[in-house]
Symmetry: C2
Subunit: 584 residues, 2 copies
């Protein structure tokens, strides 16, 4: 049946039985891509019927869909001219895992962060009203996304539109892991009473509301969407769906099947079963041990517990010393600031890209107040996620310029845990730690245990002429470069591990005043980064400085080797620069 569908109009010719057949086709095509390439499994399997019904009832792209996070938009892609990317292995690379206006005029935004759809879509609605248009605007948001501040702000605003605006709440009773937050009690009650209970979050936001329990029933969905099509005011359509619907393993183990690596369709086992030691699991084991010894230690996450290894069993072990606040990073940061203020030892962890969601709380709630919370910043690297919405190369620029924050860049496993332990036990500073992304590196360098003397760079090897300041997980590149300089240039350069992203070590830098060249290496954009501060420091001196890092731009689905080469961050390119710059 999918073969017949080249755009949403084709869909409208089908009868219900054909639409159900199409649903089967979509699931097997999803299975084809997901088992071979990996991606978001549960969200897409759960949304098959709703996506068909949305396209059957509404007229995309005149009517406009905005998918929250948009990790559930695979079926939408297949129905809007992009099915090849799911059917044919050689076309997998043609589409991203998220909505993408460059791919199709049925997509309106590049979306990858949570909780944005209602606000973005209400913008489309307001734009329509200003221009005198009449199309339907539909936001599709999962229950897990509702806890995010932006989503709640959007719901609060929506009724002020006084015009067509449809918010489909796709409630599968799951976030990535289980939901957390009081509103989920209300969603449960709404599901249990088929939308009839007295307390209703959406009505409290002054929104009209209808409920459909059969969120995986195409006929019922079409009926429901037809009821709200062309409506003249904002309304919430709360539908109950089953995450992972249609694949038994995914329906049972919802958290494990939120996102998958390539797997065997027969038994659901991942194709690559090699275990790679990683900082997530190591951090979790370390924290669980720490928690046993000290009841004041508490780990806080915002919807991504396995980011620091807290799988379901580990969360149970931690008990009250583990808090998942739901997707609510702003609250998460304020919470750890408060915990630290009242004697606790809190650790908040998330991805670099999601730390962006809480800039003001890091600045105002945490750093102005100098409370001693520890932030663990993960996937902060060019080696991290490579989707345009999930990049980890902006956090140095974002965080390191916030006053009072101590941002540390460990260069090995031993240094990471030394910094983490010091941070948890000290009570003077808010501290963030940038977890290395170049593997768990164990080497024989000695590491300090105490970081309370701020901004002390470590000279790992004292040499002459050229100093290499290699930050965080680019330290190993610096190490290799130093070794090649020694071999090829006939002198030993100085190799420095700066450790502190957020400050200048004037003693060390002054000791370099007779050097010819200083090289900085950082795993982040150059603008606003670490290297520029070194350049500024040497601005009035004769020392030459070259900053290596990345251009300020949004990258999408890159190969990190290409980026490193583009920016001159290969040993040969850097050696050439050194040879051309220094005088013998």
């Amino acid at each position: 049946m999918l073969e017949k569908i080249n755009n949403p109009k084709d869909l409208k010719q089908l009868n219900l039985s054909e639409l159900n057949e199409l649903a089967d086709d979509l699931r097997s095509t999803l299975m084809n891509r997901l088992s071979k390439k990996g991606g978001h499994f549960g969200p897409n399997f759960g949304m098959v019927e709703a996506t068909i019904a949305l396209h059957y009832v509404f007229n995309s792209p005149i009517d406009k869909f905005v998918f929250d996070v948009s990790h559930q938009s695979y079926c939408h892609k297949m129905l809007t001219g992009r099915k090849d990317a799911f059917v044919a292995d050689e076309h997998f690379g043609d589409v991203s895992g998220y909505t993408n206006p460059e791919e199709s005029n049925h997509d309106f935004f590049n979306v990858g962060h949570t909780s944005t759809s209602v606000s973005l879509a209400s913008g489309l609605a307001k734009g329509r009203d200003l221009a005198g248009g009449h199309e339907n605007i539909i936001a599709i948001i999962g229950d897990g996304s509702l806890s995010g501040g932006e989503a709640l702000e959007g719901l609060d605003f929506a009724s002020e539109l006084h015009s067509n605006f449809i918010i489909v709440v796709n409630d599968n009773d799951m976030s990535i892991a289980e939901n957390h937050g009081g509103l989920y009690h209300n969603l449960k009650e709404l599901r249990e009473t088929k939308g009839q209970c007295e307390t209703n979050l959406f009505k409290a936001m002054n929104l009209d509301y209808i409920y459909l329990d059969e969120g995986n029933d195409i006929g019922k969905l079409i009926e429901t969407f037809n009821q709200v099509k062309d409506i003249d005011h904002p309304i919430v359509v709360h539908i109950h769906t089953i995450k992972g619907k249609g694949y038994h393993e995914a329906e049972i183990h919802k958290e494990d099947w939120h996102w998958c690596m390539p797997f065997n369709q027969e038994n659901g086992q991942p194709l690559d079963t090699t275990y790679h030691q990683n900082y997530g699991d190591l951090t979790c084991d370390y924290l669980l041990d720490k928690m046993k010894k000290d009841p004041r230690v508490v780990a806080v996450v915002a919807g991504v517990p396995t980011n620091i290894g807290f799988t379901e069993d580990k969360r149970k072990q931690a008990g009250k010393q583990f808090v998942d606040v739901g997707i609510a990073e702003e609250h998460g940061i304020a919470l750890v600031s408060g915990i630290a203020k009242n004697g606790g030892k809190p650790i908040f962890a998330t991805h670099s890209s999601f730390m962006q969601r809480t800039y003001d709380q890091i600045s105002q709630d945490l750093c102005i107040n100098q409370n001693s919370a520890t932030l663990i910043v993960n996937t902060a690297s060019i080696y991290g996620m490579n989707d345009i919405t999930h990049l980890g190369i902006y956090d140095i620029a974002m965080m390191s310029n916030i006053p009072n924050l101590i941002y540390l860049a460990p260069t090995s496993k031993a240094e990471y845990f030394a910094m983490l332990d010091w941070s948890i036990e000290q009570n003077q500073y808010p501290v963030a730690i940038r977890v290395p992304c170049n593997g768990v590196i164990e080497d024989d360098r000695e590491v300090d245990q105490d970081y309370s003397q701020l901004n002390r760079y470590k000279i790992e090897k004292l040499g002459e002429k050229v100093a290499i300041l290699a930050l965080g997980d680019f330290y190993q590149i610096g190490e290799e470069l130093a070794s090649e300089v020694e071999k090829q240039c006939g002198f030993v350069p100085t190799l420095i591990n700066p450790r502190y992203i957020t400050g200048i070590d004037e003693t060390v830098l002054t000791s370099l005043k007779d050097y010819q060249l200083i090289i900085t290496l950082e795993d982040g954009i150059l603008d606003g980064g670490f290297g520029e501060k070194i350049s500024r420091y040497f601005g009035l001196s004769d020392v030459k400085v070259k900053n290596y890092g990345f251009k300020k731009e949004f990258l999408d689905r890159y190969d990190f080797h290409d980026i490193l080469e583009k920016e001159g961050i290969t040993i040969n390119q850097m050696l050439n620069l050194i040879k051309n710059t220094i005088q013998s």
Copy 2:
């Protein structure tokens, strides 16, 4: 009566009639400070009784109060040993306008941004629970703050605490201006039904709830707070108060009296009635004219309409082309991104400090999608607000390192309006404009009308040896410096107006390669700022670069002259540097 109160314990000896007498004393003392020094009027006059009752019932600082925004904490300060700062003119400077742990152990956080109290206080509660404590934790939040994402995230989280936590919602039916958002319909219904109506936002967040209509009645408040003292679970205490209570003018004109400059107590007229031309009013007039000509132009603010001059009458004139989203900056940015995507011409304006609340939306919702919204960034300057929580010197570091954003720095009235007009009419870029804070400057320099050729610095005066890149409202300092160099050093330096904060003009910079010294001047912190990018650019050259700007630190209640001098940004200090650096 206030004379007898040196700490909250003294309060507990008073009977109801004495407490009411104390309320009168507090109001006249508030009046003393506010009429002479200015400050937050309405919030403090409305909270007199509630503050007395809170301190009567609870035992601060064992029991812990967290005031949202904390602009309503004046009475709390008077009751906790800081009354001199309200009674005696010479002690006005002893306290800040917000809670401040450095002032008193009855204050737990420096707070000035909205919507943070529930989250911060829930952190105190969690810290207490980890440590096995039993004190009461009380967040006090106004209705206007409830629309902020962090507050809604906090409310959603609160019920997960399962322990003592009291959220006092101080509902005076006002934000700074009128409230906006669906939840305010629910608050209204709750007030009208004395908390009995079916729909209840707080219950939808799984929170226990009680209502008190007489929020300015000390006896009733004491009774209510006694009911919830030592409660074993989270509860919302919704109290209805009157903003500005006790001063007729303030009760009637609530928006005007939210905050006041020094005024005449007799008639409420400000002592300084000189009208100063300002960018707020000018921007409003410009936009109203623009709106008349083009129905797609729409101005959006987040709770601070007069930030761009939209007083009540102007808002009425703009009609649907003006949107106040309430205190909800995240939603505001996503909204304007959506409006631009659907053909509108949106302008979002707020203070530099409040732009911080929406970093991720600027990056993800707006800039990844390259939608052509205009952001007006106000009070972005050392000349702006000087409270630690409202500083305007971090926005260059925060915003200018976000890819795709064009951040412009006008240097005069003509340039500001040329940039604003260009930005509204173009449809290629998200653009932010940093409004000058050194007055509305009209000079005879010609300004360009088209800024679509990005990153073109303007050489305002071509000279030799020394180039001065003077950004935004520090242009005039650069101008003066250039003139003094000419007088005192016997040569004409080159004076450059960079205009584009977010990019490098390689053509102009290359033309400076034989200069001896380049000076950058910016009205913001140096770390992550504009000047460092220039230093990086010249890192491998022989050109010396000196960046002028501010240290990365949180300042509080400073005199800007002191800061400028501390950072060497006086003509004499800079002249000395030039003389010492250049060779004749």
